[in-house]
Amino acid sequence: MTDVRSEIAANVWKITVEVGQAVEAGATLAILESMKMEIPVEAPRAGTITEVRVAPDDRVAEGDIIAVLD
């Protein structure tokens, strides 16, 4: 299991994957918004999404878990 965390404090703009979905390394899992920029949260490795912990418009802090990868 790998926790994919936000590297920054930001607002969640979009979730681009679903639980159960297989993803490649580097795939965009969610897009955050900070200082008017779209900041993708990328999969650190290939795997299957087992959990998505945030929803659009959530405020996340640096280090918050965005999704969990199996």
Binding site: S34, M35, M37, I39
Partner: protein
């Protein structure tokens, strides 16, 4: 394997032997005793803890066979009834001169195998000697820190029968060194108090993940204040690699030594010299085609800055410094047509590259480093402005940010800015000195102003927009006004007014930067800066 200690020889030469050979034999015996450090058991424990001994560290760091030790004979001796040396514990600080890439340096390291590197088992004059030697001989200094604080244990009160006002012995040399010679400090174990200060009082501080911890005071002291805490939780790399206490975290001691050598390779031996040119290894006219698409046309989309830096500088010459902290700012050393330079930029993945309070601190330290050692600076500017918002205000962003801008204005090294995307607000405006020749290029992706059009539109046209009841109509109007504003945001209109000097094809950037480095090289002035340097 520790070396064997030769048998003692009589210190009294035979009448037939009129030389000093017996004393030399005694010298070799004492040197061999020093080589044994805290003894085989302690050395074994050091290795079991995943750490090299101080002597192994010095050997790994320096050019092979180049270590010239000073003060190996210093330590605690006991003598038998025949006045013969019976036991010897070396001082727990090993130092001397050596060479890195064939250039002389000073190195000093704590010996944790003797009383845990604690100062009460040291002879403090050795540490001070190393600092003074670096200063006066104008040689880079490497500190291998693996010891506890500067004081002894409280037990010393029992033996001394008095207490003392804590001194910072020889610290003036350590401070003066920052303005004179490159100082690299490696945290290689649990490092507290004065040890932590010796790590941080440097130009480049590194710590080794898992084996090194850095703290003002260790867990036993902290336990009395706020309860039990493990040393790794208190001062591990996950804390100090993120807050700027150390510049970089490495996984092994070998990596720490390699990084030290590489860091020093860009710098002169002291401020009284300028850096030597490396052998040019890359075509100064190289134009990487992909740079034309490096910055997305969609202004909300981010891009990776590091491949851009690596494409512009000499191949494999980029050494990033401080990747783990103040991450909106990206700082590193590199070469352009062989000339060492500093590269300053930002990472749009980190809040669009907005300088936060800690990113600003990182910029200040980096610019001061480049200025102190006469490294010309290339600033790849994509700066949406200082971090806005409540968290930014609470962090005191504007003070740290303005300090960074002051550092940029105080720097006298040649400076070249390349506006690769945004230049907004005070943070953007501070990308270079406002009084010196503006040696500057802009990419066609450049966008600038006091406020970005997006966001600015809603504030500036609020009355007109509020009059529209329907949200769709409102959004349509925003899009329409934004398009109108974007049309005049073209960098060509700025260039018409000579408010930006040149717009260039991004693919031409490397040749232009190599030209800059060659023009800058003879403009570098050796000597101390008036500003000095603070850690």
């Amino acid at each position: 394997m520790l070396p064997a200690v030769p048998e003692p020889t009589s210190a009294h030469p035979a009448a037939t032997d009129d030389t000093w050979e017996p004393e030399i034999a005694e010298l070799r015996r004492r040197e061999a005793m020093a080589q044994r450090m805290g003894g085989p058991d302690k050395v074994e424990r050091q290795h079991q803890g995943g750490k090299l001994t101080v002597r192994e560290r010095i050997e790994s760091l320096l050019d092979e066979g180049s270590f010239h030790e000073i003060g190996a004979l210093a330590g605690r001796a006991s003598y038998g009834e025949d006045a013969e040396l019976s036991e010897f514990t070396p001082a727990n600080f090993v130092m001397g001169r050596g060479r890195i890439d064939d250039r002389p340096v000073v190195v000093g390291g704590d010996d944790f195998t003797v009383r845990g590197g604690a100062a009460d088992a040291s002879i403090w004059q050795k540490q001070v000697y190393a600092e003074q030697m670096a200063l006066e001989l104008r040689l880079p200094l490497v500190r291998l820190v693996d010891g506890t604080g500067g004081g002894g244990s409280v037990k010393s009160l029992d033996t001394d029968r008095r207490t003392y006002v804590p001194p910072l012995l020889g610290w003036q040399y350590a401070v003066d060194n920052l303005a004179t010679v490159p100082v690299v400090a490696l945290a290689l174990g649990s490092v507290a108090g004065l040890g932590a200060a010796r790590v941080v009082n440097s130009h480049y501080a590194l710590m080794v993940r898992d084996t090194a911890q850095v703290f003002v005071a260790g867990p036993p002291v902290v336990a009395r204040v706020e309860g039990e805490i493990a040393k790794e939780d208190l001062g591990g790399a996950h804390i100090h690699g993120r807050n700027g206490v150390v510049d970089d975290v490495v996984d092994t001691e070998a990596e720490a030594f390699a990084r030290t050598r590489r860091f020093l390779s860009y710098l002169p031996s002291s401020v009284h010299e300028v850096s030597a040119r490396g052998e040019p290894t890359d075509d100064p006219e190289r134009r990487d085609p992909w740079l034309i698409g490096a910055i997305p046309r969609n202004q909300r989309q981010v891009y990776r800055i590091r491949p851009i830096i690596e494409s512009l500088v000499d191949q494999d010459s980029y050494l990033e410094i401080g990747a783990g902290w103040g991450r909106a700012a990206v700082t590193g050393l590199a070469r352009l047509d062989g000339w060492p330079v500093g590269i300053l930029s930002s990472d749009p993945y980190q809040a669009g590259g907005s300088w936060t309070a800690d990113a600003s601190d990182k910029v200040t330290r980096f610019v001061d480093l480049c200025d102190t050692f006469h490294l010309p600076v290339v600033h790849l500017v994509d700066q949406p402005g200082f971090m806005v918002g409540l968290a930014g205000e609470q962090a005191g962003t504007i003070r740290n940010g303005v300090r960074a801008i002051a550092a940029i204005h105080q720097a006298s090294v040649p400076w070249c800015s390349v506006l690769i995307r945004k230049v907004f607000g005070v943070g953007g405006a501070g990308h270079q000195s406002s009084s010196r020749l503006s040696y500057r290029y802009a990419w066609p992706s450049g966008r600038w102003g006091s406020l970005p059009v997006q966001g600015g539109v809603e504030a500036a046209f609020r009355a007109e927009l509020d009059a529209l009841a329907d949200e769709d109509a409102r959004q349509a109007r925003i899009a329409e006004i934004t398009a109108r504003m974007d049309a005049v945001a073209s960098p060509f209109r700025t260039a018409e007014a000579f408010l930006v000097e040149e717009i260039i094809d991004p693919r031409d950037t490397r040749p232009l930067l190599c030209e800059f480095a060659n023009l800058a090289a003879p403009r570098r002035q050796a000597g101390p800066t008036t500003r000095s340097y603070r850690p």
